[in-house]
């Protein structure tokens, strides 16, 4: 964003690392003032956020690394961080640590020092540590680590200026000496192993060697060489390398922490409030009812508050589209392109903004206060049955309101496999936009079984979603485990400023990233329905109509092989409720008001559908391609390939389920 005329000054790259729940992103925003540039990490779909900071004539580019506990694992997040450190060679790394829990946070710091990085350590949540009676001797800590240590309170921007000074000073110094964690024999052994490696003995080589020996990541040497060294290591030092290094690293962290941290209150003080709250929130009896209550509140907050706002935005764009069309007048295609195509498309993007802001507000608040992890803890058993993570539950639940907040909420999942599978499952939860279609058909064909049919649709949706996650998980990630291993952070009062800033920032990113595809497909479908010039919208002679005719035979086995049904499904990709309005135009030859759709369309529907084919059509509507905005959201969260895969997969599942139902039910009918 802000890189126009700064190319003359050299920019220095700074990595910002830290454990989850340390306020890393808050501190990142406090440092960069939220002038952000977003992209993706190479080869993966995790978002890469960069911010700029100018201090003392120096321009620093800060890169927000994923929240990680260590650097040894073969997980996506730790790999990203490792590759960044090795290949992009930052000028320094800022580590954000939670002052209330120095020991575990030092583990990451130590590994960065082992990688011979220039490190600045921010002791964040300093105020909270003070309150919990935790005193940290920063001078001694700085001496032991050989790096600058700055206490900070990111939510109040305390310590931020000092941190900037420390960064500038650190960049100019040589990297600190690696702490003596292992006996000399071990470092010599590592050096010996390094010589067999193609990269030799450069900076951080010993650390990488320790990972290869530990079997944490694949070593760039012959398997026999590696095994020989591993066995030699075990023989000489009595333990497997992975265990040996982890033990020594933690005992070093423990040693340093015991030296610099003094507690003036008993250690349990830090968790006093958390324990009290947990005895309620994850209570065996109360936990689940409270979770249900919280979910209900989340639903209410997003959809009850959001829906009226959504219709204001929607009405505004229909009005604007109408005004523009009228103002342009002729040629008619141009008026329609501007009014229905482009303004309609922009509206299709912006219409979700109120929902997104509300989603991100409540979500950041729940995440920051620590409740989300508790919800996942309570529900994990059920989700694990479908090989999903406890945290997958909330996105799927939100999907019943609208797929887009659901898909965006999968961000709370840190494991790539879990995130992709949950994204796949979310659109199967029947969103509220599908209701008008159900209402129309149920009134026409199942007036005496309204609730049963509706319930069946919702149930089939969620079952298909969970089964899809299970099946696709088996097929695409056959060997990947999806462990729970989740930290339950202490409860904290979220900072309203941070929550609002996060909500706004993420909403903007959505509009930018998902907006293109939503606008693009909206214009494309407009073109199909309106061309060649002069045809009625979506009529038989339009491109859409011709396409519908060509495609219709595919749906013959599902019982709804009319071209009108195909065109309705095509426009339903824009938004599922569009199925109703398109059917209105196609069957009656004129626009039908939503309120009158039932009455006016019922006789037409009876001519084109039987109860069986009607239900098959509803199954199709439920399951096939989520609307274009949902596909845009998937593209934003998981990339193009997953978005296209989801669209094709759901289309196939919709067709398959509808066809199977129609064929089997016809046998009995």
């Amino acid at each position: 964003m802000a890189n126009a005329k700064q190319s003359t000054t050299e920019t220095l790259l700074i990595g910002v690392a830290g454990n989850p729940n340390t306020g890393k992103t808050t501190l990142f925003n406090a440092l960069t003032g939220m002038r952000l540039k977003t992209g993706n990490w190479p080869g993966v779909t995790v978002e890469r956020i960069e911010g700029r900071l100018t201090h003392k004539d120096k321009t620093l580019t800060l890169v927000d690394l994923p929240g990680i506990y260590g650097l040894t694992a073969d997980s996506e997040d730790e790999r990203i961080a490792r590759d960044f450190l090795l290949h992009e060679q930052p000028s320094a790394v800022l580590v954000v640590a939670d002052s209330t829990n120095l020991e575990r946070n030092l583990y990451l710091v130590l590994m960065l020092l082992e990688m011979e990085q220039k490190v600045v350590l921010a002791l964040n949540m300093w105020d909270e540590a003070q309150k919990a009676g935790i005193r940290i001797d920063t001078e001694t800590l700085s001496g032991l680590l050989g790096v600058e240590v700055v206490p900070t309170v990111a939510t109040r921007k305390e310590g931020v200026e000092k941190l900037k000074d420390a960064l500038i000073r650190t960049i100019e110094k040589p990297p600190p000496k690696t702490p003596d964690v292992y006996p000399k024999e071990v470092t010599q052994f590592l050096d010996g192993f390094c010589e067999t490696l193609p990269e030799g003995a450069g900076a951080g080589a010993r650390f990488m060697a320790s990972l290869y020996l530990g079997g944490d990541i694949e070593a760039p040497v012959e398997k026999t060489t590696l095994t020989r060294y591993q066995e030699e290591f075990k023989k000489r030092f009595g333990k497997e390398a992975a265990v040996y290094f982890a033990e020594h690293r933690f005992s070093w962290c423990h040693g340093v922490a015991s030296e610099v941290v003094k507690s003036v209150l008993p250690p349990s003080a830090r968790f006093a409030l958390t324990d009290k709250l947990d005895s309620i929130f994850i209570n065996r009896l109360l936990g689940i009812p409270i979770l249900a209550g919280v979910l209900y509140f989340v639903f209410w907050f997003i959809f009850t508050l959001g829906d009226p706002l959504v219709s204001y935005v929607d009405d505004f764009f229909s009005w604007l589209g109408g005004v523009v069309s009228e103002a342009v007048g002729s040629p008619q295609w141009l008026a329609s392109l501007l009014g229905d195509g482009i303004i309609g498309g922009v509206g299709a993007v912006l219409v979700f903004v109120p929902l997104l802001i509300l989603l991100y507000l409540i979500f950041s608040a729940l995440e920051d206060c620590g409740y989300l992890a508790r919800g996942a803890f309570l529900i994990d058993r059920i989700m694990h049955f479908f090989k999903l993570h406890g945290r997958s539950f909330i996105p799927m639940f939100l999907g019943f309101g609208c797929s887009i907040p659901g898909i965006l909420a999968t961000r709370t999942l840190t494991n790539r496999r879990d995130r992709l599978l949950t994204i796949l499952a979310v659109p199967f939860a029947s969103c509220s936009a599908r209701l008008p279609v159900y209402a129309l058909f149920i009134a026409a064909f199942f007036p005496n079984h309204k609730a049963t049919v509706l319930f069946a649709l919702y149930a089939i949706g969620i079952v298909m979603g969970l089964l899809s996650a299970l099946l696709i998980g088996r097929l695409l990630f056959p060997r990947e485990e999806a462990p729970l291993v989740m930290e339950l952070p202490p409860y904290r009062l979220p900072s309203p400023r941070v929550v609002f800033a996060t909500a706004w920032q993420r909403t903007l990113i959505f509009v930018k990233k998902a907006g293109t595809i939503i606008l693009g497909v909206t214009v494309l479908i407009w073109a199909l329905a309106s061309l060649p010039p002069g045809v009625e919208y979506a009529s038989e002679k339009s491109l859409a109509g011709r396409l519908g005719k060509a495609v219709a035979p595919v749906f013959e086995p599902a019982g709804f092989g009319s071209w009108q049904a195909s065109v309705a499904l095509l426009t339903g990709i824009l938004a599922k409720e569009a199925v109703v309005s398109t059917m209105g135009v196609l069957y009656t030859g004129e626009e039908v008001e939503e309120e009158e759709a039932e009455e006016e369309l019922t006789p037409h529907l009876h001519r084109h559908f039987t109860p069986l084919s009607a239900f098959a059509f509803l199954l199709m509507t439920l399951l096939y391609i989520p609307c274009v905005a949902a596909v845009g959201a998937i593209r934003r969260e998981a990339g193009w390939r997953w978005a296209i895969f989801t669209a094709v997969y759901t289309l196939f599942v919709g067709w398959l389920v509808a066809t199977l139902f129609y064929q089997i039910a016809s046998l009995f009918a």
């Binding site: 694992a73 020991e103 575990r104 583990y107 994850i282 689940i288 994990d380 291993v485 930290e487």
Partner: protein
């Protein structure tokens, strides 16, 4: 004994971890390494996951994950 066999409130010192390399690396980075004393705090209603106190933090594990960790019981409060 294994970690899932602890009673609520009981502490144990980790002896060994027999997990796959990927799971083991994750457990290590959360502070679950041999010699660490952990304490079982709570169990979720359906019998899992389990919540442990580990090096001043709270970590939840499924039963199958806890089963990979070998430990020996210790008397109360020799925090590791």
């Amino acid at each position: 004994m294994k970690l899932h066999q602890l009673k609520i409130g009981q502490s144990a010192k980790i002896v060994a971890i027999n997990a796959s390399p990927a799971l083991r690396a994750r457990l290590f980075s959360m502070g679950l390494v041999p010699e660490t004393v952990v304490k079982l705090l709570t169990v979720a209603p359906p019998g899992e996951p389990l919540e442990f106190e580990v090096r001043g933090t709270r970590v939840s594990l499924r039963r199958d994950e806890a089963k990979t960790i070998l430990a020996e019981p210790v008397k109360e409060n020799k925090n590791g």
